[in-house]
Symmetry: C2
Subunit: 370 residues, 2 copies
């Protein structure tokens, strides 16, 4: 409480020991110390052990900056995302972070804050200090990606860019599960609420849904585009015409959540009047009521694999197939989807039970698949 600034740490932060200090103390040349740490085997085992001992005593730690200068190895990679506020990224970040940490790397997060300019600036600032980049921000244009790829190894997430390694979600399978689930519940006509036009993911999701529904004999139709946010979904809800479809598949969970709220605000009940499906299974999906049925993207694995892929490239991997790594999806059934109602405004009760049993059936379906 009595914070007095007596002990000014002015000349402060004492210089930490260098390989020269260790070398002197151990009676060897600095180069030997260096090798003892970075080139195991190159130096005699006993000598190495002694050096390591001395170093430990002195509290020596290699200075990453100094190491990076001649080698370029900064042990940092950049992860570019379009907005930390987007729950979609939290598991991705976690996955990336664990994978990176396991390899002794640190990840610097470049947050575009939903702005192209900011993204470019921030990335530009970070680029020279990182060894490689993972682009998980959907907005970035292909040309911008290639620009970056020219300067540093790059892995893109949930997207496909020629000649740039990528890891993506198995959207086709996910949408297939979604369609099957809806078909099982008796739905015959579904609408897709599209996301941003620039989104590669959106195209993929729409296409996959179309194919899956076609195979299952469902009618599908695309509603206009929506910003990939809760607000966007809520706004889109205004455009929904009751009766046009009994089930709605949204671009992602955020949109789905907004959609549900928007529908509810209009007095349309979910799932009694219309079922709603999301995509991604971010943590918001289980936060809202009704809980959101959604296709779970392998968020964490996405992050992990992107990092691993990047590290492999940095490690000199040349065996790129040129084919994206695709990661499996599964369906998570919650309460936002239910048996299609015969008539609109059906007697209030009972429905939940029906959906309850449907849920069990579908869950096992989804569990069974990969």
């Amino acid at each position: 409480m009595d914070a007095i600034n007596e002990d000014l740490p002015d000349e402060g932060w004492r210089r930490s020991p260098t390989i020269y200090d260790v070398a002197r103390a151990a009676g060897v040349a600095p180069s030997t110390v260096s090798r003892a740490f970075s080139r195991p085997g190159r130096v005699n085992a006993e000598t190495a052990e002694r050096i390591r001992q001395v170093a430990a005593d002195l509290g020596y730690r290699v200075n990453p900056l100094a190491r990076a200068l001649p080698t370029g190895r900064t042990s940092m990679i950049a992860l570019v995302i379009s907005d930390i506020g987007n729950p979609f990224y939290v598991e991705i970040i976690r996955g990336a972070q664990t994978a990176a940490a396991a390899a002794g790397y640190i990840v610097v997060l470049v947050d575009a804050q939903e702005s192209d300019r900011l993204e470019r600036e921030a990335l530009e600032r970070a680029l020279p200090t990182v060894e490689g980049v993972i682009l998980a921000s959907s907005r970035t244009s292909d040309s911008a990606i290639r620009m970056v790829a020219k300067q540093r190894p790059v892995v893109v997430l949930n997207r496909h860019v020629a000649d740039v390694p990528s890891v993506v979600t198995d959207t086709a399978h996910g949408m297939r599960l979604a369609a099957e689930h809806l078909a099982q519940l008796g739905h015959r006509s579904v609408s897709y609420l599209a996301g941003p036009e620039a989104s590669w993911t959106d195209g993929m999701r729409w296409r996959s849904l179309r194919e899956a529904t076609a195979e299952l004999g469902l009618k599908v139709h695309r509603m206009g585009r929506s910003a990939p946010t809760i607000a966007g979904g809520a706004q889109a809800a205004e455009g929904f015409e009751v009766g046009s479809a009994t089930a709605l598949v949204a671009y992602n969970d955020q949109v789905a959540v907004g959609l549900i709220r928007g529908l509810q605000a209009r007095g349309i009940r979910v799932p009694q009047d219309v079922s709603v499906l999301g995509f991604d299974n971010t943590f918001t999906a289980e936060l809202v009521s009704p809980g959101l049925t959604t296709v779970a993207a392998p968020l964490r694995a996405l992050g992990e694999n992107a990092v691993r892929g990047l590290l492999a490239i940095l490690g000199g991997a040349r065996d790129r197939t040129g084919r994206p790594l695709v990661l499996p999806t599964r369906l998570v059934v919650r309460a936002s989807t239910a048996q299609r109602s015969r008539k609109r405004t059906s007697p209030a009760s009972g429905t939940t039970n029906v959906s309850g049993s449907a849920r069990n059936a579908s869950t096992s379906t989804s569990e069974g698949s990969r």
Copy 2:
């Protein structure tokens, strides 16, 4: 689509120009180039301009690593948080990031992933490369903080550690608003659902609530501790005895959200049977139903000011008062608080309207304050 790896960028990533290249091209010494960039005024205006021109033509960019080695100025600061999944941090991160970017700094996020060990490891890895650290992770012990502070300038968030600059939330005022709001709604007895014991914030919140309620003549009582998560809150709901209090103030929004769900699961209605208040106003607060009434912490400002403070210190500020910078709070009234019900299990309707009018009254109260 036809990703062929023909054009192996093997010898790849072309070496970028250095001050030596620029110097040669401009017909000056490297040192002059260096100064032209980092020491404006030290070199003749015309010369500087010419150099800058040449540099631009060559596409020269200063290499931050090389610059950092002799100077120690890496233009990076670390922001340590306990879990990116915690919505509490998203605005803090944003604030920190904008403030940092404005000063040309990049922030590297150190995510403890709720683990002491991971936090230490990650921080240790990042420490040598950053100029300063912002500790926003509640878990860290005082001694650990001092340890870090010995190595780098540190600013702590929402916490007070002797001799370490800090920026905190005005909890006292926030809790006062909360208490007033509840008093106005006719509540006479409130319970506080505590957070983790190690949390400085928890102590502060409890103390503030106690003082505020005392002044207003409300009875207050503390329920057991809960993990600062939704799950924690849900679990705590089981321990709540109906009738013991008509209003619950939770440690934070996460706990409050969990609490609400837990209560609802037990058939206790919020806000009809019991009102619930949160703290922080994270985005989850408006996501749940009923929307959570909560004390809004100045999240973004917290992040911004922490960075600004840190940068000031790095810039050589010595004028520390030793006093934490405290940032204002306000009350955000949503639907989780309502007029105290006369009896338990009152006739279902009407209540919302009552709470509706109360809401307006309180909102203006809260808006009026600071």
